[in-house]
């Protein structure tokens, strides 16, 4: 016998006596703790993965400063400007192959600290250990058009460092390639556009400027001797101490001119966004699952405590205070929770580890003791909080409940009950019991409604993702696009030389690459549509948007600010003609009104693939090639809207009103006061248009060329409507009918069939080497990424629906189980008066069916609401899961119910009706 009967001792005794009952609870607690602990684990995984990706792609440093050998870094370090001691790359030479100096690389060695910061990724081989050995980044090899085997010798042209830059004497140098490294310079280059360092070309005084001439992508060992007369130049790698940034800004100006500041958010790290998206999805999922599990725990606790109401009432009758009840039963919860913690945290840990492993090398999970403790803490806290609500309810139980259900009696007395003279017992009992147990029914209905809603939306979203994969598949494999396109001029005039476009020769080089089957270029220029007489509203809206806008959605027109309101805005904007327009009109000698737009020349193949977007007419490639016809891309109805901010300024946007989702995307959601002017398309198939091309060769002199063409087809805008109410499409040959030759803005590359899978990475590298400074987009890898995203979404949505369903089923089943246990005596009574098992089962079946029906209706109502108002998914959902899922849940609950009832019925009637 225990000498002191403490609350812990009572809790332990209770746990011992009710082992079987606590099994379900323990499983629920473990689940909840797995998900709760998963939240910090997933979050940590996301942060670590993002950091790891940044480290692998850019290195661990914030700054790289070139040509720093004469600077007193020690002094700066003593001032605490750096987080840790800077590291240095010692550049020995700049090397290249053939004539392509700008595609070469600096060669140097890294000291131990720089090595730590630069964080090189060895893909093949090893780091150089002896003089004469070299390790080179894969992209640098590709740029130099080298495809050497490991341990083979590579020979390069080079200029040697002279202590300030590079000397003028060219010399050949040979190394044994011992390692191929992951790309870093390629990624850093995006952030180093302004660091143009001259590389001399021999003694003739010629030089080539390249942005990363002192950023090594090829490394030798520290013992590598520099040729006589040469002197190493140093590039410093460091992380700035954010608290001492002020000291750093006093660095000599050359540091600023020759440094790269690394922004990990850079667009070159698109995968970082993928990591964040996937991880945040999982964090959200884990949070939701944890919340649901906590809800489940609260429900199981509630059922458990409800079953033990008489026991609690007895404690109360014996003088236990509410706090003592809370203490005793709270300790039970804490003890189970503590017992479940190691298993839960371990399962959660391995779950996240498994997830990271499944997601590939981009995902890393680096747990530490603090993180594990945080996971355990979050888990325990979530369980205790979820147990607290039913515990507080239990502590309020009146001592009368030791004798009979006072609360129930009170509720019964508050209701008027009319006797039924002819009734179906199960139906009547279901009705009466449902009436009195409404909170449980309501909570089940809500969760079930959410399940139905989430499943409809989730499956709808999955179907959408699947369709997106189809939409991404293009008739080509790669796209080469200028990373920054400045436009061709002032929207009326094409100014040549503003952009470094792709020439025909460069396109030809691309076609000569191995495995390339075909290339398709896209050209683009501004063209003016000349209108005699009054300009239709459709074009006015387009013109206003195009001429005055600085961006699509948010801009201010200073001259109109303060004057504009909802009533006068349309008249006012028509009264303000753009001065640029007037100047151009005069210079070009236009007597008509000119509406500028883009003339986009696409490959015939791409235009042919637009068949499904045709609203009227027919795409005739021959007529397009001959310049006889053009295609007009114009929505059937557009809306130009202006939103007024509180200060009288505004923002505007253009909507394609022929698309349902466009109507909702903007117009329905904003609370700002807005006005919208709409116009129907003014284009017809067969209509003749006069297109005028203005070209400025850079001297300021305009050349004008007019052509009259027919509209062959009218197409609608693609997936995204970017505010261009109309544009003109033709083929590259069609654009060639104008005398002015334009270079390619984009190039599309098609590989020989089935080769992309094997050579995707090499092809990207080859294209990057051929077109430095351009964005290379691999549709093959994009489709792969979308497929991966689809699979992740499938797993996430599937888990979400499964857990939602499991929670709903568990809520219903726990409710039914508790009701059956609690109503054991009623069951015994019914049996004693002749009710069969079927009669008893029906009493509960009707309740389950009722709850599931209401939950389903609730969920479907939510779907209907979403369909009407498009808040979450733009109305994209699938209905069948909302019907199938409840049916499955109903089935599972019915089976569970029969098992539970049979368990009670297995006992004799006397055991059923025996008093406690």
């Amino acid at each position: 016998m225990a000498k002191n009967l403490t609350a812990t001792a009572i809790a332990l005794r209770n746990l011992q006596n009710r082992r079987k009952h606590y099994l379900t609870l323990a499983i629920g607690i473990i689940l909840a703790m797995i998900f709760s602990s998963g939240v910090p684990f997933f979050y940590s995984c996301m942060r670590a993965s993002q950091q790891e990706l940044v480290n692998r792609k850019l290195g661990k440093q914030d700054y790289i400063v070139f040509n720093t050998q004469d600077f007193d870094w020690e002094k700066l370090e003593s001032q605490g400007v750096f987080q840790e001691t800077p590291g240095f790359a010692h550049i020995q030479r700049f090397a290249w192959t053939g004539e392509d100096v700008d595609k070469g690389t600096a060669i140097g060695w890294l000291d131990s600290r720089a090595m730590e910061l630069y964080y090189p990724q060895i893909q093949q081989g090893r780091w150089p250990q002896e003089p004469g050995e070299i390790a080179v980044e894969a992209n640098a090899l590709a740029r130099m058009q080298l495809e050497p085997e490991l341990n083979s010798t590579i020979t390069l042209n080079s200029v040697v460092s002279n202590g300030e830059g590079y000397g003028e004497n060219q010399q050949e140098v040979s190394y044994r390639l011992v390692g191929i490294l992951g790309d870093k310079r390629q990624n850093l280059e995006f952030q180093a556009r302004n660091v143009q360092i001259a590389v001399p070309l021999g003694s003739g005084g010629e030089e080539v400027k390249t942005p990363t001439a002192q950023l090594p992508a090829a490394f030798v060992c520290a013992q590598e001797p520099i040729p006589a007369g040469g002197k190493e130049i140093a590039a410093a790698y460091f992380n700035l101490n954010p608290e001492k940034e002020e000291e750093f800004i006093f660095l000599p100006s050359f540091v600023w001119e020759k440094s790269i500041q690394i922004f990990p958010e850079s667009s070159s790290l698109g995968e970082s966004g993928d990591i964040q998206n996937s991880s945040l999805l999982l964090v959200a999922l884990a949070t939701m699952l944890a919340l649901l599990s906590c809800f489940g725990i609260a429900n199981v606790f509630s059922s458990n405590l409800k079953e033990r109401r008489q026991q609690i009432g007895m404690y109360r009758a014996l003088g236990a205070t509410r706090w003592q009840i809370l203490d005793i039963f709270g300790r039970e919860a804490l003890l189970i929770c503590l017992a479940c913690t190691p298993v839960s945290v371990a399962l959660s840990y391995f779950g996240v580890k498994f997830f990271a492993w499944c997601m590939g090398e981009n995902f890393v999970f680096l747990p530490n003791l603090l993180l594990l403790a945080a996971g355990a803490g979050v888990g325990i806290l979530s369980v205790l909080i979820s147990a607290l609500v039913p515990l507080m309810g239990a502590a309020r139980v009146s001592p009368m409940q030791a004798i009979r259900s006072a609360q129930w009696m009170r509720q019964m007395r508050q209701h008027r009950v009319r006797s039924q003279t002819d009734f179906d017992l199960p139906r009547l009992l279901a009705k009466r019991r449902g009436m009195f147990d409404r909170w449980r029914q309501i909570s089940v209905c809500i969760i079930l409604g959410l399940t139905v809603f989430a499943s409809c939306l989730g499956v709808g979203s999955l179907v959408g993702s699947y369709r997106n994969i189809g939409a991404t598949i293009q008739p080509f494999d790669y796209e080469i696009r200028l990373s920054s396109y400045y436009g061709n001029g002032n929207n009326f005039v094409n100014t040549l030389g503003l952009n470094d476009l792709i020439s025909q020769q460069e396109a030809q080089k691309c076609l000569e690459l191995p495995y390339v089957k075909n290339i398709y270029g896209e050209k683009e220029c501004y063209v003016n549509l000349l209108i005699d007489g009054e300009v239709p509203d459709y074009l006015l809206l387009h013109e206003f948007f195009n001429i005055r806008s600085e961006s699509r959605y948010s801009f201010n027109v200073p001259s109109l600010q303060g004057q504009m309101n909802a009533d006068n805005f349309w008249d006012l904007i028509q009264s303000k003609e753009n001065p640029t327009y007037l100047e151009v009109k005069e210079a070009a000698g236009y007597t008509q009104e000119a509406i500028n737009t883009q003339l986009v020349a696409k490959s015939g193949r791409l235009l042919a693939s637009m068949e499904d977007q045709v609203i009227a007419g027919k795409i005739d490639l021959d007529k397009l090639d001959s310049g006889e016809e053009i295609i007009v891309c114009a929505p059937e109805k557009i809306g130009f809207f202006w939103e007024f901010d509180s200060d009288g300024s505004g923002s505007c946007g253009m909507l394609d009103l022929s698309k349902e989702e466009e109507k909702y995307s903007r117009v329905e959601k904003s609370d700002l006061k807005k006005v919208m002017v709409t116009a129907d398309s003014c284009f017809q198939v067969g209509q003749e248009l006069t297109l005028s091309l203005l070209v400025d060769d850079g001297s300021g002199k305009l050349t004008r060329e007019d052509r009259t063409v027919k509209i062959g087809a009218i197409v609608r805008t693609g997936e995204a409507f970017w505010g261009n109410s109309f544009a003109v499409y033709t083929t590259v040959a069609g654009l060639g009918c104008f005398t002015q030759p334009f270079d390619f803005k984009n190039l599309h590359v098609e590989l020989e069939q089935g080769t992309a899978e094997q050579i995707d990475a090499q092809m990207v590298r080859a294209l990057e080497a051929l077109f430095p400074g351009y964005n290379i987009r691999s549709y093959y890898s994009q489709v792969q990424q979308q497929k991966e995203y689809f699979i992740t979404s499938l797993i996430a949505t599937g888990s979400l629906i499964a857990v939602f369903s499991a929670i709903s089923i568990s809520l219903i089943s726990n409710g039914i189980t508790a009701q059956i246990r609690e109503g054991k005596r009623a069951i015994g009574t019914l049996r004693a008066v002749g009710a069969t098992e079927q009669d008893i089962v029906r009493c509960y079946e009707l309740q389950i069916a009722k709850m599931i029906l209401w939950g389903t209706v609730l969920g479907l109502l939510g779907c209907g609401f979403e369909y009407l108002f498009h808040y979450l998914t733009g109305g994209r959902f699938t209905l069948w899961p909302g019907l199938v899922l409840p049916a499955v849940m109903c089935l599972v609950c019915m089976v569970n119910l029969r098992l539970r009832v049979r368990q009670v019925i297995r006992q004799s009637i006397v055991e059923n009706i025996r008093e406690l």
Binding site: M412, R413, R825, A832, G834, S908
Partner: protein, 228 residues
């Protein structure tokens, strides 16, 4: 005419590792319309015997015969139908269904049998028991005596052949107990029902035509009196 018969009826329970014989090789029979009281000290097995005869529990060995047919040959479903049509039960703790009103509790066996209630007969029962004014109330709004009357009315609703009453007055005060007992006797007599009643109260037992005394699961005396 024998309506119910026990042949070598035995019921054993396991209490820890010890086997307890609650009913030990009992042989008995009851005539149609008989009023019999089973009495004995606490734990003697009188309630268990009643439960076995009422098909609320299965015997360990031996058999109960109703109308000459052993209950062991009945399926669970058939036993349910037997209980709802031929047997009526009155428990010490009333055992009314809390969600149903007094009248609905009375109708319960009729409704389970999917029959139309015989309103005239039920009116007669209700009149006999004097529960007219409690029919629309839920059990929680009734006193113990009122609940027990409803329980008796429920037991009589399907015109049973046998009415089993387990300590029907045990939870009632003296006056209510006496009233309930009189009503049971009166109803039994009026409706020609066999009444088998378990009690440890000697005064209650003395009201019966026949008194069975049970000790340690065995019938020790079986005393029959004249018509009362």
């Amino acid at each position: 005419m024998k309506i119910l018969e026990c042949q070598d009826l035995t019921k054993e329970y396991l209490s820890g590792e010890t086997v307890v014989k609650a009913v030990d090789h009992v042989n008995l029979s009851f005539e149609q319309g008989e009023f019999c009281a089973i009495t004995g000290p606490s734990g003697s097995g009188k309630s268990t015997l009643l439960h076995l005869m009422g098909a609320l529990e299965h015997p360990t060995s031996g058999s109960v015969l109703y109308g000459g047919q052993t209950l062991a040959s009945y399926t669970d479903h058939q036993l349910s139908i037997l209980r709802r049509r031929r047997f009526g039960f009155v428990f010490q703790a009333y055992n009314l269904v809390q969600e149903l009103t007094g009248y609905e509790n009375i109708l319960l066996p009729v409704m389970l049998d999917h029959k139309k209630p015989d309103e005239e007969y039920l009116r007669q029962v209700i009149d006999i028991l004097g529960i007219e004014d409690r029919l629309g109330h839920l059990p929680s709004a009734m006193s113990g005596g009122q609940q027990q009357r409803i329980a008796i009315a429920r037991a009589l609703a399907n015109r049973p052949s046998i009415l089993f009453a387990d300590e029907p007055t045990g939870n009632l005060d003296g006056k209510s107990g006496r009233e309930v007992l009189s009503l049971l006797k009166y109803a039994g007599k009026q409706l020609g029902i066999t009444l088998i009643l378990v009690t440890h109260d000697q005064h209650v037992a003395e009201q019966a035509q026949r008194i069975l005394t049970i000790e340690d699961g065995t019938i020790v005396t079986d005393t029959k009196f004249g018509v009362m």
